[in-house]
């Protein structure tokens, strides 16, 4: 479904990821893990069109994405929840969700994903009139995922959804990711919390200083003695 081939992305000459290749198949949950500064966010930005790769290709269902404008990439069916969530802080929860379905014209298409969003995150339905900025960190993350689901994506990309969130809500969010996959979507998730991420993922990649260090089925990576020592603290 998604194929990232030897992508290199740099910030003013500083190479953040170099020749990174990953594959995501339809219906998978794929986890990209790695330490601070490994290039995880840069990888997602390069796919979403928020940064332009210096070289390499990104293909989504046969369509070249690299070089395409970010809003067009969203329209191809990729929803991206960035690290800092980028909600519209002074707009209500309702308006944030409503904006998610901006690309659809028919009311039926616009309302349809709401059921899933409210099933996953019932607390959002209780806070529809509240400004997004007044939500707790966890609720903001839920809203950001909710808004992304409103675009009716085929691929959902999450950048550290657990960041700055209390443990109980982290569980809730990982649960939600599982159910999003059950609803027919594919998920690419970037995390520093490797243990939780590997638990729900089918396959995983480990990035280190901008390169793919290791890849394979999640269970295999979890069992790898080097990974256990270096990343899982076991």
């Amino acid at each position: 479904m998604l194929s990232v081939h030897e992508v290199t992305t740099a910030y003013q000459g500083l190479v953040a990821i170099s020749a990174v290749s990953i594959e995501v198949a339809k219906g998978e949950i794929v986890c990209v893990a790695g330490a601070n500064g490994a290039g995880k966010s840069t990888l997602l930005k390069s796919i979403a069109g928020a940064e332009r790769p210096r070289s390499g290709t990104v293909t989504f269902d046969g369509k070249r994405l690299d070089g395409m404008a970010q809003h067009h990439i969203t329209a191809t069916g990729i929803a991206y929840v960035p690290e800092n969530r980028r909600l519209f802080p002074r707009l209500s929860v309702r308006d944030n969700l409503r904006l998610g379905s901006y690309l659809y014209r028919s009311e039926a298409n616009r309302e349809e994903p709401l059921d899933l969003v409210f099933t996953l995150f019932p607390r959002l339905s209780e806070r529809l009139e509240q400004r997004a900025e007044t939500l707790s960190g966890g609720e903001q993350q839920m809203l950001a995922i909710g808004r992304a689901l409103m675009t009716r994506p085929r691929l959902l990309m999450l950048d550290e959804p657990s960041q700055g969130i209390m443990p109980k809500l982290v569980d809730e969010i990982f649960q939600a990711v599982n159910r999003i996959r059950d609803a027919g979507m594919t998920v690419l998730i970037v995390e520093q919390r490797m243990a939780e991420c590997l638990e729900i993922a089918d396959r995983a990649y480990i990035l280190q200083t901008g390169r793919v260090l290791m890849q394979g089925p999640a269970a295999e990576i979890r069992g790898n003695p080097d990974v256990r020592k270096a990343y899982l603290g076991l």
Partner: protein, 292 residues
């Protein structure tokens, strides 16, 4: 000074104030959307007045009917100015604020120069129109019809703008873009399109104002300058970027101007506005309705 004179001039001040609000609101809208001050705003007004003048001169279209056409023409002008000038000015690597100021300020000078070249520096006017020279009297107060009509158009335009921003998808996209232009692509919105439409809308609003003013003001290449100054004061009074603030600010400016004219000689009529402006700036620097 009788009570009647006072009421009479406050009523005229109110009508003029509503028109000031309509002139200023496009400026406020654009500033609110993207933090850019359009220093060519007065020249937009000037162009709208000429459009109305030429529609009358060549096609005998009354300013009343020319208003929507002037609005449409200025919509296009606004969008083109964004796409051709402002969009690139915003990409400057250093001193973005300065670059934007000079880009729109330079545009103002160019537009004035072109107006002098093509339209000459002559003072023009629309010699006769349906409403021109007519007044209505309400409870002993005489109101000139073109100004009254202008005030009604201003109220209608503000009402329409309010509904547009609060009730439509595009209005929501406008709000979202003003919150975080870098985030709208996440929901598939092209921020450049929103910016271009925002400039178009700002242009259309000042276009309406220009068409109305063409029926009772002289039209000449520099006509925008004095009104632009009032517009900047109006926007600063109301709160930069606040659309409602521009409405209220316009009314205040109109009333203060009328009051000043009652007590000071006409040549000093701007003194009152300026005094109120300074007062607001010192006491409440973000304007009466500003929220930044």
């Amino acid at each position: 000074m009788t009570a009647e004179t006072i009421i009479q001039s406050l009523a005229s001040g109110l009508l003029m104030g509503l028109l000031y609000g309509l002139i200023a609101v496009g400026l406020a809208l654009i500033f609110g959307l993207m933090d850019v001050v359009n220093f060519a705003h007065g020249e937009f007004l000037m162009i709208a007045m000429y459009v109305t003048f030429f529609l009358f001169t060549f096609f005998a279209i009354d300013p009343l009917l020319a208003a929507p056409l002037a609005a449409a023409a200025l919509f296009v002008l606004g969008a083109v100015v964004y796409l051709v000038v402002v969009r690139f000015a915003m990409r400057a690597k250093a001193n973005v604020g300065m670059v934007q100021i000079f880009a729109t300020f330079g545009l103002a000078i160019v537009m004035r120069g072109l107006a002098q070249l093509f339209f000459t520096a002559d003072y023009r006017s629309v010699p006769q129109s349906w409403l021109g020279g007519k007044t209505v009297s309400i409870a002993g107060i005489f109101l000139p019809q073109p100004q009254l009509f202008g005030a009604l158009v201003a109220i209608a335009a503000f009402g329409g703008l309010y509904l547009f921003i609060n009730r439509t998808d595009f209005g929501r996209a406008l709000e979202a873009t003003r919150e975080d232009p870098g985030a709208v692509a996440l929901v598939g919105i092209d921020k450049n399109r929103v910016f271009a439409l925002g400039w178009g809308l700002g242009g259309a609003l000042v276009g309406l104002a220009g068409a109305i003013m063409a029926s009772f003001f002289y039209i000449y290449p520099d006509v925008g300058a004095s009104f632009a100054l009032i517009a900047y004061v109006t926007v600063a009074l109301g709160g930069f970027g606040s659309v409602f603030g521009a409405f209220a600010g316009g009314i205040i400016v109109g009333l203060v101007e009328a009051t000043t004219a009652l007590v000071l000689p006409p040549s000093l009529k701007s003194v009152g506005i300026y005094a109120v402006y300074l007062l607001v700036v010192f006491i409440r620097p973000r304007g009466l309705f500003g929220s930044m």
